[in-house]
């Protein structure tokens, strides 16, 4: 999605959250339509289990509903806010279940089937997004990429990531920053 499209989508989603904040269930349905697939996919990535991911998704949307009126656009974009809620919910479930995570890499999942998207436009958009991210990830050194994946999808704190990777905390923080900045630079680069 282009930065302009992302910005416009974010504004629309902020309005939907405001509507949810005053009890508009139609807005809930719209937000669900926009967010459920990526959030469920995130749940699948973090929890590795459809029923766990489904439970997490339900809990997340109930939280989004209950906190929509408090959403603050100054602090985060709407989808990032929803992702944070989903990730925290997944992390709670991980900790509750005391599950050992098998943190796979993006590459391992590259050949997995995608669920059938609803429209051709979505298919194209998803493939474009995936290719862009894969291209961006190619430019990131493997340790930075690994640290970023652990930070995003494992539920580990940065201290735990440092322990897992047997690196000083400061190094891990630096890797996370550089990894995210590298993605940001690559993904916001104009298409040639």
């Amino acid at each position: 999605m282009s930065p302009t499209a992302q910005h416009e989508a974010a504004i629309e989603e902020a309005c939907l959250l405001a509507q949810m904040g005053v009890g508009d269930t139609n807005a809930l349905q719209e937000i669900y339509h926009k967010y459920s697939t990526p959030l469920y996919s995130l749940g699948m990535r973090m929890l590795g289990n459809p029923s766990e991911a489904e439970e997490a998704l339900q809990d997340t949307f109930v939280k989004i509903w209950n906190h929509a009126a408090y959403y603050d656009a100054q602090k985060s974009r709407p989808f990032t806010w929803a992702v944070t809620i989903m990730r925290r919910t997944c992390i709670d479930r991980i900790r509750k279940l005391k599950r050992e995570l098998d943190v796979t890499t993006f590459e391992a999942e590259r050949d997995q089937d995608w669920a059938a998207p609803e429209t051709v436009r979505q298919i194209v958009a998803q493939h474009e997004a995936r290719e862009q991210v894969e291209d961006a990830l190619k430019d990131i050194p493997s340790k930075q990429k690994r640290a970023l994946e652990l930070a995003l999808f494992s539920g580990m704190t940065h201290s735990e990531i440092a322990t897992t990777m047997e690196q000083p905390l400061g190094t891990v923080k630096s890797w996370l920053k550089r990894g995210l900045f590298q993605l940001r630079t690559t993904l916001t680069k104009p298409a040639v």
Binding site: M1, Q19, R45, A73, R77, Q132, S174, K177, L187
Partner: protein, 283 residues
């Protein structure tokens, strides 16, 4: 921007800061535009990561289960104010769009009967406290954006800050304005753009067939404006936006706000007839 700040921004986006660190960082975000832009870009990168995961559609029954859970839970206490406005910071037209949908902050009717007079005051915002029998005004020097939407968003941010931190209200207005058991409130009004917000609390329940009307009196020119009808509905508090018509000059900083209770049938009322509920028609 130094490396430490960039690192903090990354950890913030990755949700790896402690609660205290997060709070401190969010305070910086409120005043640091460059930092906010960086965070938005990093968030965009994170979102792309999530959207690039192998996509799985949630089972079809999940939405109805979510709706059932929401219906089953005890009613959630409505946050204060009735409608929060933080997303006004996000984009002016997003705010306006939401107003049009009638979902956000309530947009009151515009006033009637424009008058001629001196040019508007420049670069001040009027903070007017309303008590059951009085109205007090404070003039707050500030630089307001000329652009209408930017002006609107700037004012909204100011109002939000006052709502969240009433102790920051200036001077005589700062007297726990929303703690009065008899009803209280304040208006934040930019005489230049004629945009304003009114925050009210603990108004008595409206009688059936009655409406609360918000009035503004320019004391210097002795001109009265109807700023709108306040749709209090079931709640006794709220935060509302209003604007006067473009050609309604405000001649001075002596502006009083007051609320009267009027018959519903008087939708086009141009003068108050009903009982004074809050504020005063003179400063």
């Amino acid at each position: 921007m130094n490396t430490n700040t960039e690192e903090l921004a990354s950890l913030y986006v990755l949700d790896k800061l402690s609660a205290d660190e997060r709070r401190t960082f969010e305070e910086r975000l409120e005043s640091d535009t460059e930092l906010t832009l960086l965070v938005r870009e990093l968030e965009s990168a994170l979102e792309d990561q999530v959207r690039a995961l192998p996509q799985h559609m949630a089972p079809g029954h999940v939405l109805s289960q979510i709706q059932n859970k929401i219906e089953a839970q005890a009613p959630i206490a409505t946050p204060s104010p009735v409608i929060t406005i933080p997303w006004a910071k996000f984009a002016g037209w997003g705010m306006v769009a939401a107003l049009m949908f009638g979902v956000g902050l309530t947009l009151l009717f515009t006033s009637r009967n424009p008058i001629t007079g001196e040019s508007s005051n420049q670069s001040v915002v009027l903070i007017v406290r309303m008590d059951p029998q009085s109205s007090v005004v404070e003039v707050l020097p500030t630089v307001m954006p000329v652009d209408e939407l930017e002006n609107f968003v700037h004012l909204a941010q100011m109002v939000e800050r006052f709502w969240e931190h009433p102790e920051q209200l200036p001077g005589s207005v700062n007297r726990s304005p929303l703690a009065n058991t008899l009803g209280s409130g304040y208006a934040v009004f930019d005489p230049q753009s004629k945009h304003g917000f009114i925050a009210i609390q603990k108004l008595p329940k409206r009688q059936e067939g009655k409406n609360y009307f918000l009035w503004l009196r320019d004391s210097n020119a002795n001109v009265l404006y109807r700023a709108g009808i306040i749709p209090m509905q079931e709640k006794d508090q709220g935060l509302y936006f209003f604007e006067l018509e473009e050609n309604s000059p405000i001649s001075s900083n002596s502006v009083a706000f007051f609320i009267t209770e009027e018959d519903t049938a008087e939708a086009e009322l141009s003068q108050p007839h009903g009982e004074l509920v809050l504020g005063s028609d003179h400063i």
